[in-house]
Every structure is written in structure tokens, then in C-alpha cells.
Symmetry: C2
Subunit: 379 residues, 2 copies
DNA sequence: AAGGGATATGCAACCGATTGCATTAATTAT
DNA sequence: ATAATTAATGCAATCGGTTGCATATCCCTT
């Protein structure tokens, strides 16, 4: 693996530097050398130069047509001489295909970029787009409502051939709105029940969560807490179901106090500890957190109470974020295959686009547990 | 919004229409019932419905023209009835602007997504693109060579109005190639010397590194090691210069053994410890690492040797990655404002695009040191 | 040598908007 | 009331490719 040259990580607040800029003295535009620049020429220029009809040039460049070797050569020579590049926009207008797939990113949610979800998503999308000759049109959005406004806009204005949408808030009917417009979309995540027919791919959150509960139960834990994120999101609901299933399968009773929501934030996890341990004599001996950030908060809460992890209480996080391996103790975490999910979604979408039909079908991908040192058998 | 269900002269979705092109008068003769789905209509359909000329409809939608309130209303009503959305591709072809800026992402380098550089970059780019009404066209690339092939393609085929490029490998002349094509580009990172006039924005790596060395020297450290990434990358060279400057400013002698390269990898950091501590009596009492991953490796190497951080040796990382805060001890790290850099680059690019000139000017942004617990005064 | 089927190109009508210029209608000035 | 403006539209030529159909060549057969 080759390390990146540019790629130095970090986060820094936009405003930090916004006020301190150091303009260096650049050259003014007058110094720009124009004669070294390329002119843009059209298919007709080339045609004239090669003494053929524009349509012939078009055929030479679009490949799939019978062109005599002689003309092909003549056209290519002319094209090279004029530095011709076919205009993709014009082509798109004509063939009604852009070779582009759209994605909407809720860029205003800060956590969106902090998490490893976004990079993985992009990686998966990009991987297959690139391989299949597509590009990504990425648009921002400033909220759940705006998400489908933007998505719709991209599609309605024909800027992309299809779109993958990631949001699955149950209170905003993005999917319904989109479907009504008869557009090519595939969803990352589960759709709300009324749109079960939309194409989607997701992690099997329910099963994965159930397995974790069973795993903890198998280690002797009987009081297991569930700390979810935003209770309105479908992921969190699925996981909760899995939790209940797992508890039931292990024959364990569930107490209301053990179910809590940390809204995916570190502090949420911290507070969850407080709420779940009012009665220390009946407090959980294991926690499952729906992301690692909350797990970190839980860890802190536990530590403050002098509770040892994993000695006294076990802890499982989700997403296997970069920090998980470096915590004390190293955090056991559920790795969700976001990259593979995104890749599958892109493939599904492009398949449909190229077949000239609506995307369909559903796909569930398995997560896997990365075992580290935050879990221990309950004696 | 009521879905049109009956009796519209229809042009349907692209693929539906693909098999029946070239209707005689521009309208399909038959009437089709498209259940629940929206029909896509053109400016001419709206014009016909509202009994005005297509150009009038165009003017209504592009805003900046004198249209009587009466006609505007009529057009809007017709447009709504036909669910008209202007086709962005057609518009782009006509006005020669796509409202899109391109980015090329070397998606094959795994580390690219692991790092927080990429999300920060996207966040910054997206933030300003969104605010200014642009979208991002993201293309993959599978290597340094391919990067400018892709970039060039996006620009040459007019799919974007400009592009931001991130690579700054000194051995691949991306910038030169791009400049020769007279394209709108702004670089994130320093350009190689021969292209000093290209527009760019970057962190002031040299100064930041110098400050860190001075800071360590100020704490009494006299033997300070520099662990860089890929020696071929410009970032690393700048930092090295900063290191030398800092050492000189603090009146400290530099020993060859204290300068090492870990290629941005954890293991590279680990090995650097080995190489820099052959002679323990003259070994560094402080390390500066060009990313946190290497700092983690250094930490491990030191620990294996029974050397306490920060008790015996101090350590500063770079990028303030998510894991930095959670290490033991929490890592003091240089936070580089990638998000702000990307935002500045996007602004610079869009400014130029909208002014109809080439981007120019340069900008250096300050990094800031996040002090945690891996540094201590040398007694 | 004439007929027949392939091949290669040309023709021109699209794709769906934009916009300079001309024309008509509405206002204002004289 | 008429001339002079100005505001509101229509006209038609773009933007730069694509592609169904027609035509012209070519190569074989018989």
C-alpha cells in the first residue's frame, strides 16, 4: 500500500483560519500566456478540416459504427491537430445520459464527516463508479427536508442518471417523494415500511445486534444495556429490535432503564451511564452502543464511577472507528461494511440505468465483530 | 403537487423514449397514461399550454428579464400543470456553464479514506459549493498519472466549470499539464516551483513545523527528531525545512540520524524509533511526526524500550486525528485546517469562474497546536 | 456485365434550452 | 392627439453532438 502524499488528516474549524489569510503576491492575469493554451474545437471544425460530414466525426468518436480505416485516420489527424475533445454536455443532451450518479450529502451535520461512514460510503461509490465509467455528482443539503429537494433537483434537471440516497429518517418521506417522480434511485439503508419495494441495500443491523447480545449473554451477562443513537432513525430501531430478539433468545428479561439513547454523541453515551445506573445493584454488566463515540462516553462515565472495563462491565461499540483500537482498553466493536454497501448500491443503480429499467431488489450485508479487550466473561 | 395521470402529450422518461425518437413535430403523437409518475415536459410544452413563445418561458424561469405579471402567472400555472423542470444539461450546453466543480479522488489508495483528510476536504468543498449554488463532480483515479488524465477529461469535455486538484507529487507534472490546457484550476497544496503562478491554497507547513520545534526547544529539548512521511511529497519537504529553520533559530545542532521517514504509516513510525535510537546516549528527547499514525508507531516503539512518554521523551503528532485524543497519553498534535483550505480553494475557484477569468492568487493558512499530554518540559 | 447485398458516408431533424434583434404594445412626453 | 420612449414578446439562430434514413460505393456472384 502506498501512502498518500497529500493526504494528511485533520479537522480544523473553518473560521479558525478564515480571518487570517496571507495572500502572497501572485502574478496578475495580464501575465498569463495565452498562446500556449488550447482552443476548443467542435465536431464541425474537425469535419471541415478532414473534409467529411460532422456525423462521420461523431461516428468515429462514439466508436460503434462502420468507418473505413482511411476516413478514421483522416478524422483522427484533424481532431488531433485541432485538439478536439467531444463535449460531454452536448452528448448528454443528445443521448439523454450523463454517465453520472448523484449523491446528496447532509454537509451541515458536523458528525457526518467525523464518522467513518462518509468516507467509506464515498469510497464504495467511487470504486464502482470509476470502474464502470461513471462519475459522482455530489450535492450538499442542509437538513432532511432539503435532502430530497436536492435529490429531486438533480434528477429532475437531468444532471444525473440516477441517485443513491442515504437518509432514512422515518419522519421525512424522501423515498415516497422520489418514487413518485419515477426516478432511478437506490437507497442505502432500509426504507420505511410503505416503500418496501424500493431498491435498497443495507447492513443486517437487526441480526448483527442480536448476535452481539447473544454473544454477551453467552459470556454470562444477564443485564445488558442498549444505547442507541437517534431513536427516530431506522437503523436505531432495527438495532433495538435485534436487541430485544437477542435478549429473548437468551431468555433474559429486559428492563426499561437499560434502553437509552445517546444521539450518536460522546456526551450522550456519558449521560446514558448516569441514567442506566440509578440503581447500581441492578445495573447493566454490559453495554452495547450504536456507535463508538457513544461507547467512548460510556467508558468515561464508567471510569468516573470507578467501574473497571472490562473487569466489572463489558462494552461493545459500533463502526470500528479509527479510535476504537487506541482506547484503553481497546474497544471491541461491530464493523459495518459501509464500503461494500455503497458499492453494492452503486452497482445496482448502474445495472438498472444501463438496462433501461428501474432499480429493484434488496440486499442485506453482514457485519462482523472486531474483538478487542473491552469485553470479558462475567463470573 | 398532483401527479399527472391522464391524457398528456407525453415524452416520457429517457429510456421509454429512446426507442421512438424523432417525432415529426417534436411531440409524440400518442397519449399515454403514466400511472402516478411524472411526465417530463419541455419548455415548448409549457409554451404551448400557456400560449406563449418558448423564449418567454425561458425568460420566466431564468429570472432576469422583463415579463409582465400576467404572463408570468400563466406560464407558472402551465409549468406546474405539466410538472415542468428546466433541463440543466440543455441549459449548460447553451450557456456554457455547468455550475459544477470537479474533484479527482485517488480512490485506489486505501489510506486516502482512512485518514480524515478526505472527509475534511469534501466538507470544505461542499460547504462552499452548496452555499454558492454549485455541485461537485467527483471522479476517481487510480494513480498519480491518471489523476490528471481524469482532471483533464472532466474539463476538456466541459463537465465542470473548474477543478480543484489535490495532488502535489513533485514527480508528476499534473499542474503543468493542466495549465497548458488553460483550464480553471486551483491547487490544494504547494505547486512545484516551476508553476509558482498557479492558484493555490495550502497550510503554512514550514512555519507551523518551525513553531513546533521552537516550542519543544523552549521546553528545554535539545535533541529533536523529525519523522516525515513520503520524502518525495512537497508537504514533507516543507516541514523538513521548517524543522531546520526551527533548530537553527533555537541554536540547536542537527544530527542526520534524527531525520527519518515513516511514509505516513504506523509501522514507519515504529521503525523510525529504532533507527533514531541506535545510540541511546545521544538519542532524541522529543519527536515530531508528520502524521498521527506515525506518532502512534513511535509511541509503541518507545514503550517497547521502556521509555516513558512524556516523562522521558516528548512527542508531537500532526493532523489531530480522531484517535489522537484517546491515546495513552493523549497526543499533542498539530491541527491542519484542511476544511478551511478546501473551502478557500473552492471560493477562489468559483470567484474566478464567475468573474470569467483564470483563478489566481495564493493563500497560506495557519495550523494550530492542540496541546494534550504527550509533551513535557525537559529538566 | 448486370444484379444483389454490404459498407461507408451524407443529410437533416432532433436533444432542450438561451439570447440578440426585431416587432408590437403600452406609457409617457410634447 | 401624436411622437417618442420603454416594456413585453416573438423570431430564429445558436450551443455541440447523435442517429434514422437515404444515397452512393464497393465487392461478389452468376
Amino acid at each position: 500500500m502506498i501512502p498518500m502524499t497529500v493526504g494528511l488528516p485533520t479537522r480544523c474549524l473553518p473560521h479558525t483560519l478564515a480571518d487570517r489569510r496571507f495572500p502572497l503576491n501572485g502574478h496578475s492575469p495580464e501575465f498569463v500566456v495565452v498562446n500556449r493554451s488550447f482552443v476548443v474545437s467542435t465536431i464541425r471544425d474537425v469535419a471541415a478540416q478532414a473534409d467529411v460530414h460532422p456525423s462521420t466525426v461523431s461516428r468515429v468518436f462514439s466508436g460503434n459504427a462502420q468507418i473505413s480505416e482511411a476516413t478514421r485516420q483522416r478524422v483522427m489527424v484533424a481532431a488531433r491537430a485541432l485538439n478536439f475533445q467531444p463535449n460531454a454536455i452536448a452528448r448528454s443532451l443528445s443521448v439523454r445520459r450523463t454517465k453520472t450518479i448523484g449523491v446528496i450529502v447532509p454537509h451541515v451535520f458536523d458528525g457526518y464527516f467525523a464518522d467513518s461512514f462518509f468516507p467509506q460510503l464515498m469510497a464504495g461509490l467511487l470504486e464502482v463508479s470509476y470502474a464502470r465509467g461513471y462519475r459522482l455528482l455530489v450535492g450538499g443539503c442542509n437538513g432532511y427536508q432539503d435532502e430530497h429537494v436536492q435529490a429531486l433537483d438533480i434528477l429532475a434537471t437531468r444532471q444525473a442518471d440516477g441517485i443513491v440516497v442515504t437518509s432514512s429518517r422515518l419522519d421525512v418521506d424522501t423515498v415516497g417523494e422520489l418514487q413518485r417522480h419515477n426516478t432511478s434511485l437506490v437507497l442505502i439503508g432500509h426504507p420505511p415500511a410503505q416503500h418496501a419495494d424500493v431498491a435498497w441495500v443495507d447492513a443486517d443491523n437487526r441480526t448483527a445486534t442480536r448476535h452481539i447480545i447473544e454473544y454477551l449473554a453467552g459470556l454470562g451477562h444477564r443485564r445488558i444495556a442498549y444505547v442507541g443513537g437517534d431513536p427516530d432513525s431506522s437503523v436505531v430501531k432495527e438495532r433495538l429490535e435485534g436487541y430485544h430478539n437477542g435478549m429473548a433468545a437468551a431468555n433474559l428479561a429486559v428492563t426499561e432503564e437499560w434502553i437509552d439513547y445517546g444521539y450518536f454523541a460522546e456526551d450522550g453515551g456519558y449521560q446514558a451511564v448516569e441514567r442506566t445506573r440509578r440503581d447500581e445493584s441492578n445495573a447493566p454488566t454490559a453495554y452495547y452502543a450504536a456507535n463508538d463515540l457513544m461507547a467512548i462516553g460510556i467508558l468515561r462515565g464508567l471510569r468516573e464511577r470507578g467501574i473497571d472495563v472490562p473487569g466489572q462491565v463489558s462494552l461493545v461499540g459500533t463502526n470500528d472507528s479509527p479510535e476504537a483500537a487506541h482506547l484503553t482498553p481497546p474497544l471491541t466493536s461491530l464493523r459495518v461494511p459501509y464500503r461494500a454497501i455503497a458499492a453494492a448500491a452503486a452497482n445496482r443503480l448502474i445495472d438498472a440505468i444501463e438496462a433501461g429499467r428501474q432499480p429493484d431488489g434488496q440486499e442485506l450485508l453482514e457485519s462482523c465483530l472486531i474483538e478487542r479487550e473491552s469485553v470479558e466473561r462475567k463470573v
